[in-house]
């Protein structure tokens, strides 16, 4: 019964199988996509493009197991999501929405928010301020080119580009294994957009697996590129990606 002739393939950092999305409508339910598979390995940046409404955000929120309309099997390093709590899963697979929602009365407080959650408290019983003092936040923001952002500012006073970078910093500080970035550079000027791309590239070099939804022309940072259209995932080559860049 035991045949050890075949080695089990090394598991991907993140793998999704059989991902399906169905939305209820007047005549029953409508299938957005069905039985899709996806994977990301350590240090990879995978880009996902496609027409509006094709379900790219839906796919990403499905990966983070946030979407009530989706189902599928998801693993990180071979460990299935159903064997852990939703909080433990989302600690490893972090979804970064397109519109940054910063909660708190200051930038520092907004960035500390994830560390006030039980899933990150652990046994050390340290408060969020102890785990992430202002100095650490300042150093982190400076290292990703955000020295223009004051820690005491109210989040709603930030510009779109600044808010997007703070939102990205907040997620990066939680050090997820997989980052699901939903059009984070949308509406940013080219300089800010490139900065965001650079920040993600550095995170990937440290071992993070990143999936980006993008609409802009390729910035050549991705290791693989896909297009999601009419419920199908299609690999696209670098030349096809050059033609991208519509709103």
């Amino acid at each position: 019964m035991t045949s050890q002739t075949q080695q089990t393939p090394a598991s991907h950092l993140f793998e999704a199988t059989g991902v399906t999305c169905q939305i209820p409508s007047e005549n029953g339910s409508r299938t957005i996509f069905e039985d899709l598979n996806f994977y990301v390995d350590r240090g990879e940046i995978v880009d996902l493009t496609g027409p509006s409404g094709s379900g790219k955000s839906t796919l990403l929120t499905a990966f983070a197991r946030l979407n009530v309309r989706t189902s599928g099997t998801f693993t990180v390093n071979g460990v299935d999501s159903s064997t852990m709590t939703p909080q433990q899963w989302r600690e490893q697979v972090s979804y970064l929405p397109q519109t940054s929602t910063l909660m708190g009365s200051s930038v520092a407080e907004a960035i500390r928010l994830p560390f006030t959650f039980k899933v990150r408290m652990g046994e050390s019983e340290q408060s969020a301020e102890e785990v992430l003092p202002d100095t650490k936040i300042r150093a982190m923001l400076d290292s990703i080119g955000c020295s223009d952002i004051n820690l005491d500012r109210k989040p709603r006073e930030l510009s779109g580009g600044q808010a997007a970078r703070v939102s990205l910093a907040r997620t990066l500080l939680t050090e997820p294994k997989v980052l699901l970035a939903d059009e984070v550079d949308a509406g940013l000027d080219p300089e800010n957009a490139d900065l965001v791309g650079q920040i993600m590239q550095e995170a990937a070099e440290r071992g993070m697996g990143i999936i980006r939804i993008r609409h802009r022309a390729t910035d050549h940072r991705a290791t693989r590129m896909y297009e999601l259209a009419h419920g199908q995932l299609k690999v696209i080559s670098a030349e096809d990606a050059e033609q991208g860049g519509e709103a």
Binding site: Q87, T101, P114, F117, V119, R120, R170
Partner: protein, 304 residues
């Protein structure tokens, strides 16, 4: 026999009631003359109030006269059921199927009110004394119904408004409780504001109803004041308890399996149309799952 002051209680006769209605009609006349539009509801509300209060007065007269613990308990059950039904009717933003939890929350607080306030604090000679238990319970339930309806409405509305915040918090690893807490906090605070306002203004700005009633019936104002204090604090504390119980039991309704965010649509308002459609099986199923059309639209919007 109570009170050190000789009884100065003056009964209101039929003419008194008639003149009160005349006063209401005069006010209604002003509304008509100035086209304010409240004449009908004012008159109708007054008529309802007259009938309801007099009926309650007669019922209570007999219940106090019979002085039977079981009958008293029976009336309390009726009051709690009526309170739960009124609270559900007013909580328009809440989904269907909540009546059990509302009933539980009100019943628990009512029992606490009777045990702590009546039996432990006041300590009447007759523990089942209806003239004490029923009015006090009535006041508590009236307050709790307002606070619960307000709290429930506010909670579900808040969870719908905070859709982006909730999704972001969940994505960052928050539990259901952590993601819902700002809405819960908001709702409890709102539900408790009237009670706290009453505590702050009683005595300086106004004499509350219970105290005024006791003074009118000849009781010493000082004794009346003590009763009022016990009642106000009891109601404030227990309203908080009722609100907290309900929200702690109910916040999970905004999440599905694997802690995913989904606010159920508001319960369909009971109108003739919805009642008629309930008799068609497939539309009943659709109604219960998706609520009314406008509710579905806002629910779908919140899910995005």
């Amino acid at each position: 026999m109570s009170g050190s002051i000789a009884s100065t209680y003056t009964v209101i006769d039929v003419w008194g009631l008639v003149l009160a209605m005349v006063m209401v009609c005069a006010a209604a006349g002003i509304s008509v003359a100035m086209k304010l539009g409240v004449a009908r509801s004012l008159v109708w509300g007054s008529v309802r109030s007259l009938i309801q209060l007099l009926v309650m007065g007669i019922v209570l007269t007999y219940i106090i006269r019979w002085n039977n613990a079981w009958i008293t308990v029976g009336l309390l059950c009726v009051m709690v059921l009526a309170a739960a039904q009124i609270a559900m009717g007013r909580a328009k933003g809440a989904p269907s199927g909540m009546i059990g939890i509302v009933l539980l929350s009100l019943a628990v607080t009512m029992l606490l009110m009777i045990t702590v306030v009546v039996e432990i604090i006041i300590r009447p000679k007759n523990w089942a004394s209806p003239e004490l238990i029923i009015p006090i319970t009535g006041m508590l339930l009236g307050n709790a119904v307002s606070a619960l309806a307000l709290g429930l409405n506010r909670f579900f509305d808040s969870m719908r408004e905070r859709a982006d915040d909730v999704q972001t918090m969940l994505a960052l690893g928050a539990t259901k409780w952590e993601a819902a807490r700002p809405s819960i906090r908001n709702s409890v605070k709102l539900g408790l504001l009237p009670s706290i306002a009453k505590l702050e203004t009683s005595g300086i700005v106004m004499i509350p109803g219970m105290m005024a009633g006791q003074i009118i019936s000849g009781e010493s104002p000082f004794q009346a004041a003590k009763y009022q204090f016990v009642l106000l604090t009891g109601i404030a504390a227990l309203t908080l308890v009722a609100d907290a119980i309900i929200l702690a039991l109910v916040y999970k309704r905004c999440f599905t399996s694997y802690d995913r965010y989904l606010v159920p649509p508001p319960a369909p308002a009971l109108s003739l149309k919805t009642l008629k459609s309930m008799f068609r099986k497939d539309s009943l199923k659709h109604l219960l799952e998706h609520g009314t059309d406008s509710a579905t639209k806002s629910a779908d919007k919140a899910e995005k």
